[in-house]
């Protein structure tokens, strides 16, 4: 049975519809990410699951029980907020023990569970400190301990890493995922950061303008985007207009101006149904920039000119012009950093090509 079920959820604020008729099943014990830019309805959805907002229409069920009119304090959820939301007037231990107090847990047991939770987030011995005396990362660990010590049915994380600085964020990302797997709690994670979503999730739900754009495992969403929005939002993609001239033998024949004829496997274009205008998608990492002179090995090659180089240390992002197309390629730097103005060859393999139906078709 699914841990959280949303059925035809709609949320309107006055004339503005924040979430359009959304249905979703979140499997028990899974780590599910709501991913999208700000204003896409992901936080609104999370707050409806939490009971901090009431849906205008539709049903929310947790563990099979309808939750619609149940106030937040009776839902047994753990929530971690973006700005930690620790109680500044209570010690770390009292912060973590807060939820246990309202569950009538005996004092000895509460003390043991608080210690275990602080151990789990690697903050033993800090129980008597006040939140203000801790760093941002430590405060976020306390917030996590406070949310999981009550053994919630669902753990809700509202951009919990976005207030931390870059290095710390990456460490916390790994640790958060480890802790989630160890205790096996069903987790709904809200973020606008595609790297976090790809790294942590069992299931990603990409949202835009209050609608679900795509729902799938990280590799699925990354490799076979369902819409142009998904292709652009997850990583850097080259999106080129073309025409599908036909589907035969499990392959699509694509006709793209200035490109050689391509035959893209059906599996890389599951949303294209037949002949007509399509969009060819090639990830920036899958385009390889090579010297013009060197002979092409396998795959396809286009002549191009480097226009701009965005040097990033171990890798570089090249902005290229190939005929009428503006392309971008992200390559590891082996020995040669191409310079702006250089005449190069851009290579790609057909298995790295995906195709999308043309929107509005």
């Amino acid at each position: 049975m699914s841990a959280v079920t949303l059925t035809d959820i709609v949320k309107r604020f006055g004339n503005f519809t924040a979430v359009h008729r959304m249905s979703l099943e979140i499997p028990q014990g899974s780590f599910v990410t709501l991913l999208g830019p700000s204003g896409c309805g992901k936080t609104t959805t999370l707050r409806m699951i939490a009971g901090l907002l009431d849906p205008t229409e539709g049903d929310i069920a947790i563990g099979g029980n309808r939750m619609n009119n149940l106030p937040i304090h009776r839902r047994n959820l753990g929530i971690v907020f973006q700005n930690y939301a620790l109680f500044p007037h209570k010690t770390v231990a009292d912060n973590v023990a807060f939820g246990l107090k309202y569950r009538n847990v005996p004092k000895d047991e509460a003390r043991r569970r608080v210690a275990e939770a602080l151990e789990l987030v690697q903050l033993p011995n800090l129980g008597s400190r006040y939140p203000k005396e801790l760093s941002g990362g430590q405060q976020q660990r306390v917030a996590l301990a406070r949310a999981i010590v009550i053994e919630p049915d669902v753990l809700l994380l509202d951009e919990p890493l976005s207030a931390l600085d870059a290095n710390l964020r990456e460490d916390m990302r790994v640790e958060l995922k480890n802790i989630q797997q160890r205790i096996g709690v069903t987790t709904v994670f809200v973020t606008h950061d595609q790297t976090e979503a790809l790294a942590m999730s069992d299931l990603i739900i990409v949202m835009s303008d209050g609608r679900v754009e795509q729902l799938g495992a990280p590799e699925e969403v990354y490799n076979t985007p369902a819409t142009e929005f998904v292709a652009r939002f997850l990583g850097a993609s080259n999106i080129i207009e073309g025409t599908c001239t036909g589907i035969e033998g499990g392959e699509l024949s694509l006709d793209v101006p200035d490109f050689p004829k391509l035959r893209v496997p059906r599996a890389r274009a599951p949303h294209v149904t037949g002949a007509g205008p399509v969009k060819l998608v090639i990830r920036a990492e899958k385009l390889t920039v090579a010297p013009r002179a060197a002979a092409a090995t396998d795959g396809f090659a286009l002549d191009a000119t480097v226009e701009t180089v965005d040097y990033q240390g171990q890798s570089a992002r090249y902005f290229l012009r190939a005929g009428r197309h503006q392309l971008q390629a992200i390559n590891m730097i082996d020995d040669h950093l191409f310079a702006a103005g250089e005449e190069v060859s851009v290579r790609f393999r057909v298995k790295d090509c995906a195709a999308l139906p043309h929107e509005g078709q």
Binding site: P71, N83, A85, L86, Y102, K132, A143
Partner: protein, 267 residues
């Protein structure tokens, strides 16, 4: 140019000193003369003595007025703070229709001249055939201390993040438990400041009190006022000194305690 600025600054400095002298010299004179041993409340001082404080203590009318003032001040503080916290909560945390107008109405007593307010309330109660009473006096004091409490509490409440309260509720606390476990403790400095405001404003109010007090009831300010009509006794200097200690000392002590608590909590 540097010279010109130096000259300008010394004028400003001297002027500032004069302003302060003008403001505080009369107060200093009252305090000084309250310790004068002489019969007359005037210079030169003939010696240092507590006899006027002694006389105050033995004057039944003054002791009674003092008790009335303290009781009135404490009750005003209690009622005003309770109502003020509730009003601020409603205005900040809930979507009350006509919020701006309600805020303006609640703050208005600060802007309306006290005499106008005093007469208005009196006429209104006259119209309703209600006699002057201690309850009415208390009501009047609550009306014009309430804006101070609301302003102070509102300012603090705005700075308490809503997600802290949401976190408490997600952990199982009902809205009421959340208020007592989280919101109120975080609000405490403002609540204490508001209560102190209410007490000191009530304690030294005279305009409204003169209009509203029932016959035979005197507060310290009205008592001083009626004593002045007969003679200028040095007792009044002593009473003035006590008033100054109460109305200046209490807030200072209060602020000190609040700062100490805040430091210990690291909040």
């Amino acid at each position: 140019m540097g010279e010109g600025r130096g000259w300008g600054w010394s004028v400003i400095r001297a002027y500032t000193v004069l302003v302060y002298l003008f403001m505080f010299l009369p107060v200093a004179v009252v305090v000084l003369l309250s310790f004068n041993a002489s019969q007359f409340g005037a210079f030169p001082m003939t010696g240092f003595s507590f006899r006027w404080f002694q006389a105050l203590w033995e004057n039944d009318a003054i002791v009674r007025a003092f008790r009335t003032s303290i009781a009135l001040g404490l009750m005003t503080a209690l009622v005003s703070t309770t109502l003020g916290v509730l009003a601020a909560l409603a205005l900040v945390r809930y979507n009350v229709p006509g919020r701006d107008m309600i805020t303006t109405l609640l703050i208005a007593p600060i802007l309306v001249p006290e005499v106008v307010l005093a007469v208005a309330l009196l006429l209104f109660l006259n119209f309703l055939n209600i006699n002057k009473s201690f309850g009415l006096l208390l009501m009047g004091h609550v009306i014009f201390t309430l804006p101070f409490v609301i302003l102070v509490v509102q300012a603090r409440l705005v700075s308490i993040r809503k997600d802290v309260e949401e976190a408490a509720q997600s952990l199982g606390a009902t809205p009421r438990q959340t208020f007592f476990a989280v919101t109120l403790p975080l609000l405490m400095p403002a609540v204490a400041a508001g209560a102190l405001f209410a007490f000191t404003i009530s304690f030294d109010d005279i305009t409204g009190t003169l209009f509203w007090k029932p016959g035979g009831v005197e507060t310290v300010p009205t008592q001083i006022f009626s004593m002045l009509r007969n003679s200028i006794s040095p007792e009044i200097n002593a009473l003035g000194t006590v008033m100054i200690v109460m109305t200046v000392g209490l807030p200072v002590i209060g602020a000190g305690i609040a700062r100490l608590l805040a430091r210990r909590r690291g909040a």
